[in-house]
């Protein structure tokens, strides 16, 4: 076999050499032929031929430069124009460059785009933000680290996730073989694209067959960390008709099969996480298992090793009636499973999501009219296994726009309708009572609809050098009474396609999504989590939508034909953020420490235990509601981009963004802290005789307390209670003995699993005891008090109480301006595309970002500065078909790129690019 491969290579080399050696007609030579000539061959040519060679080189070089430095783009003005003329900050990533780069999926390819921050969560799953504004608000749920303010589209069809906002990248049905180019517009662009185009737009444009010959594109590759993937696209035109069919598959494993447990700050196996003996580390929660024993961890994960497992299939049909009348109809299917950062709030950082769905997209273009209608229907389970997170969804979009060209004036009116429907009831494990469900987040079918109209006026003057653009859109949603009016004004001046200066003022808004509008969820925590016993999550249809006002100045220059330099300076103000915050609560007050006597029939009391931390008040039930917060993000920054076609063989790109973001009117958004403060103030109010509602409340409190003791007994807790050797103490002792916290956490589980025969017997006895025991509880709380949360009132009240020496208060509800550290102050990258000989291509690229600090309700996480180096080397074995080796994160830097997610690894792959 090996000999055959060698012989094949030799044959290919001989054929190449023979064809190279043939005397060629100078006028028919290509740039590649000329570049491949030796000094000896060149020196033999008469000067007339040398002149002709330079002519060939000169003309094709111009075309070459234009192709690389001035690509066509449609997303910035909704019609084709050169990227140099683009009135907005725009980058076009071509199929050829994506493939050459070695990126393994669309998300990773975005590392090649200026102004985009791409951070790996688990192998093949990435966090993607344009310019930043991530992790706002801080200190709250992890889900607010997701990007809900960038509009991702495939052929202008939004692939937005309306359940929580943002994009489930793995659910895109397309892959590289489908893609013609990816267009990225940085900055607020809702006037053009509607809601969610706040920080920018990523429009994935798929290939359209342009030949009657069969056109095939594809790639297969496989490597370490269980990575293998492939995509293939076949298409051609047949007369006025055309078709393209494609498929893709991707499988990548995580770099670990363990799960990070927040409370214990350690990685643990799935089995250990689910072990009922494994308790939370913190004293307040140490009564409870890390894993809710009412839920099976096997429902949550197919396995904890898989990072990405997805497939997609697409079929597109085209009919070109004439040059300016054409139609396309595309449809497809996708199915995906990933393990990535959780959309819920479990004890572990990574959970699985699973989704599938079909789509159909129809586009008709006739003269100036563009009509587009599309529908997507599927199922999204965003926290697999956790009831309430799974829903069926239907998204429908309809748009009609017309281009009127009146001399130098281009007027483009448009009308739009969007409809998104989600229904979680088919997946709720309950029979409705009076038609009502209670176990879901939505508990019904809910919808978001919007109708909109837009007008865009584009005027050119002074021989097309001066361009003035005004765009306005009016959009009305069914869940909000306001009419949103995003706008965009641009003035640009293009001097001989060498200098281009532009200024942009625009405003854009996010759209509403299901959870924030319709949440209707009761989290019953009795017996599985510490107080409060119940937490109610409510949506808010009247919440204002987050919006950004942007000022941008841009300058593009091509000092020489083969060099493009771009500078974009931007200043943005983003406000009307929203998040889930406590609105009101009830608390038990005047509580003595709870005492339980564990009695055995005919024996009497065998031991007494008590609530570990007597408290002046204990939260009972908390109502949390999605609501606007006053924080504003003020960002200023500059992005530099340089693209240099040094020679046909060598293309260099470098880009970087410096930015600074300040959060004004910032207060504490930590729900736990707020609930604690509400509890404290409830106690203070109660002690002053205010807000107290005396009730017979023992069942609210004693029952779960008894349940906790029962659970403790059943888990062999008698032994632990009697000896005081709780796991928490065990960990503490191991740490004292010199183990790290993480090692101690893991080791303690092993010790508990493999305990001595005496302990095993005691555990068996404990189970018996738990079945027979009667538990008497005393020390019942005396009242229930209510509290309403208001940050400004709390700031004043807590200051007063601090003055009275009753509380310690750090001013957490005082509005202040702080530096936002979750967006790196500097991020960027470079690429070097080198083709030393026609068949060999080397593409090296690097990405870097400075330090970042994430803050969520799970704590603070520092992401260290990181530089990632990638390289793909490919060799064409037949026409444009190439074998390649590919190294991602080539130096194997392990540093985590996203809070509490997986360490990274070097990913090394072998593969084959197909193109003919």
């Amino acid at each position: 076999m090996f000999k055959k491969i060698i012989l094949c290579f030799i044959a290919v080399a001989l054929v190449s050499a023979q064809s190279f050696g043939q005397q060629k007609d100078i006028s028919k030579m290509t740039r590649a032929d000329i570049m491949a000539m030796s000094y000896e061959e060149l020196a033999e040519l008469p000067i007339e031929d040398v002149m002709q060679l330079t002519k060939i080189l000169g003309i094709s070089l111009d075309e070459f430069y234009e192709m690389l430095l001035n690509k066509d783009v449609t997303s910035a003005s909704k019609k084709a124009e050169s990227s140099f003329e683009s009135p907005l900050s725009t980058t076009v990533l071509s199929y050829d460059e994506i493939v050459a780069s070695g990126a393994r999926n669309i998300q990773e390819a975005l590392r090649l785009v200026p102004g985009v921050i791409v951070r790996e969560k688990t192998n093949g799953n990435y966090d993607i933000h344009i310019r930043g504004n991530n992790n706002i608000p801080d200190d709250n749920l992890t889900v607010y680290t997701e990007n809900s303010m960038t509009l991702v589209m495939i052929n202008s069809r939004p692939v937005y996730n309306y359940i929580n906002g943002g994009t489930f990248w793995e659910s895109l049905p397309v892959d590289f073989a489908d893609i013609d180019r990816i267009e990225v517009v940085r900055g607020a662009a809702s006037a053009l694209y509607g809601a969610n185009a706040v920080t920018g737009v990523i429009n994935i444009i798929t290939k359209t067959p342009d030949s009657e010959d069969l056109q095939v594109f594809g790639q297969v590759q496989g490597g370490n960390v269980g990575s293998y993937m492939g995509s293939l696209s076949v298409g051609q035109n047949i007369g006025k008709f055309g078709y393209r069919v494609s498929g893709n598959y991707q499988k990548m494993n995580r770099t670990t099969d363990k799960l990070y447990v927040f409370d214990n700050d350690s990685l643990m196996s799935k089995e250990d996480v689910a072990n009922p003996n494994f308790r939370f580390k913190s004293a307040a929660s140490s009564w409870f298992s890390v894993w809710n024993q009412n839920k099976s961890i096997d429902d949550w994960y197919k396995d904890t090793e898989t990072a990405v497992d997805r497939l997609g299939a697409n079929l597109s049909l085209y009919y070109n009636l004439s040059d300016d009348i054409n139609f396309s109809l595309s449809g497809g299917y996708q199915n995906s499973y990933v393990t990535s950062s959780s959309f819920g709030d479990p004890a572990v950082s990574a959970t699985a999501r699973e989704m599938n769905g079909f789509y159909a997209d129809f586009i008709a273009k006739a003269k100036g009219l563009t009509l587009q209608a599309n529908v997507q229907k599927g199922t999204q389970d965003i926290v697999r296994g956790d009831q309430g997170f799974k829903a069926d969804n239907t998204n429908f979009n309809l748009s009609a726009e017309y281009d009127f060209i009146l001399g130098n004036l281009n007027v483009r009116p448009g009308i739009y309708y969007q409809y998104a429907l989600y229904d979680d009831t088919p997946y709720l494990d309950e029979e409705p009572v009076d038609g009502k469900y209670t176990k879901g987040y939505l508990n019904g079918d809910v919808s978001i609809k919007s109708t909109a109209a837009s007008l865009r006026v584009d005027y050119k003057a002074l021989d097309d050098k001066l361009r003035l653009i005004g765009g306005l859109r009016a959009e009305k949603f069914n869940v909000n009474d306001d009419v949103y009016l995003p706008f965009q004004f641009v003035a640009s001046y293009n001097l001989n396609n060498k200098h281009m200066i532009r200024g942009v003022v625009s405003r854009a808004n996010r759209g509403p999504f299901m959870v924030e509008s319709y949440s209707n969820y009761l989290w019953d925590r009795e017996g599985v989590r510490p107080m409060p016993l119940k937490m109610k999550f409510s949506g808010n249809k009247e919440q204002k939508l987050a919006n950004m006002t942007m000022f941008e100045l841009g300058y593009r220059v091509r000092p020489v034909r083969n060099l493009l330099v771009e500078v974009e300076a931007f200043s943005t103000i983003t406000k009307d953020f929203g998040c889930l915050l406590p609105e009101s609560m009830t608390a038990f007050v005047h509580v003595d420490s709870m005492v339980a006597n564990v009695n055995l029939p005919q024996v009497g009391t065998v031991f007494t235990t008590k609530q570990p931390a007597p408290a002046p008040a204990i939260p009972n039930a908390v109502d949390l509601k999605y609501q606007n917060i006053d924080v504003e993000a003020h960002q200023t920054g500059v992005t530099l981009n340089l693209e240099w076609v040094a020679t046909e063989k060598l293309i260099f790109k470098a880009f970087g963004t410096f930015q600074k973001t300040q959060l004004k009117n910032h207060v504490c958004y930590n729900n736990s802290t707020i609930i604690t403060d509400m509890t404290t103030l409830a106690a203070v109010n109660a002690s002053q005789g205010k807000g107290v509602v005396g009730q017979g409340i023992d069942n609210y409190f004693v029952t779960p307390f008894k349940a906790g003791v029962q659970q403790q007994l059943a888990a062999g807790g008698m032994q632990q209670i009697e000896t005081g050797l709780t796991q928490r103490i065990l960990i503490q002792k191991l740490v004292e003995a010199g183990m790290s916290q993480e090692q101690a956490a893991i080791h303690s589980v092993e010790m508990m699993k493999t305990s001595s025969a005496e302990v095993q017997q005691a555990a068996a006895a404990a189970h018996l005891l738990a079945e027979q025991a009667e538990i008497e509880a005393t020390g019942i709380p005396s009242a229930i008090a209510e509290q309403q949360f208001n940050a400004e009132v709390y700031d004043q009240t807590l200051q007063q109480l601090q003055g009275m020496g009753l509380v310690q208060y750090d001013g957490r509800y005082k509005k202040e301006t702080i530096d936002h550290k979750a967006t790196p102050s500097f991020f960027g990258g470079f690429s070097l595309n080198y083709t030393p000989i026609e068949k060999l291509n080397i593409y090296a690229s690097g990405n870097f970002y400075s330090k970042q600090t994430y803050k969520t309700s799970n704590g603070t996480f520092e992401v260290d500065p990181k530089f990632t180096m990638n390289c793909k080397i490919s060799y064409k074995v037949w026409k444009d078909n190439a074998v390649f080796v590919n190294a991602r994160n080539a130096f194997g830097d392990k540093k985590r790129e996203f809070a509490w997610m997986d360490e990274t690894k070097g990913y090394y792959l072998l593969g084959f690019d197909i193109k003919f």
């Binding site: 020196a43 008469p46 000067i47 040398v50 000169g58 040094a646 020679t647 260099f652 530089f867």
Partner: protein
């Protein structure tokens, strides 16, 4: 961060050099071709045929690559770096790179009537000093030629060369 900056700057210079090398290669090819289309006075027909480059320039190595084992008539072609302008008269061709263009007046003064073709690489120099000057026209590498200056330098150009270059006088 410093390492990254150094890396980027380093790459920038590497690429800059590679890009220039491509241009220099074709200029060197032209200079070699000039030897085929020019005539030098009898006094310059003995010894090596010497091409000098004023100061350090990547074109020197390109010229050496093209002229290795090549001759002009019986004269072996030798490429050297010129360290002092006073040495210019002993060469057959003196190339003045762009960065050394400020010296071109002194060079032409030194070589006047001494059988030395002065080739430059800066817009407008053929009109004022050099016999041949490289230019780019519509992205294509070409050259300006001054019959007057070539004659003043004691060299003569063949008709075919004159027809290919852009005459400035």
């Amino acid at each position: 961060m410093k390492k990254i900056c150094f890396l980027v700057i380093g790459l920038f210079f590497v690429i800059h050099n590679v890009a220039n090398a491509q241009d220099e290669k074709f200029k060197a090819l032209f200079i070699y071709n000039f030897t085929k289309y020019m005539e030098w006075p009898e006094v310059k027909h003995s010894g090596d045929f010497k091409i000098g480059v004023l100061g350090s320039s990547p074109i020197t190595n390109e010229l050496k690559a093209f002229t290795a084992k090549k001759t002009v008539g019986e004269q072996k072609i030798v490429v050297e770096e010129i360290m002092a302008i006073a040495d210019c008269p002993k060469y057959h061709i003196v190339f003045v790179p762009t960065k050394a263009s400020s010296n071109v007046a002194e060079v032409t003064k030194n070589v006047a009537g001494r059988g030395v073709l002065v080739v430059t690489d800066k817009q407008g120099l053929a009109a004022s000093y050099s016999g041949i000057n490289f230019v780019k026209a519509d992205g294509q590498q070409s050259f300006e030629i001054s019959v007057k200056h070539i004659q003043e330098q004691g060299v003569s150009a063949g008709k075919s060369l004159l027809s290919l270059g852009i005459k400035v006088d």
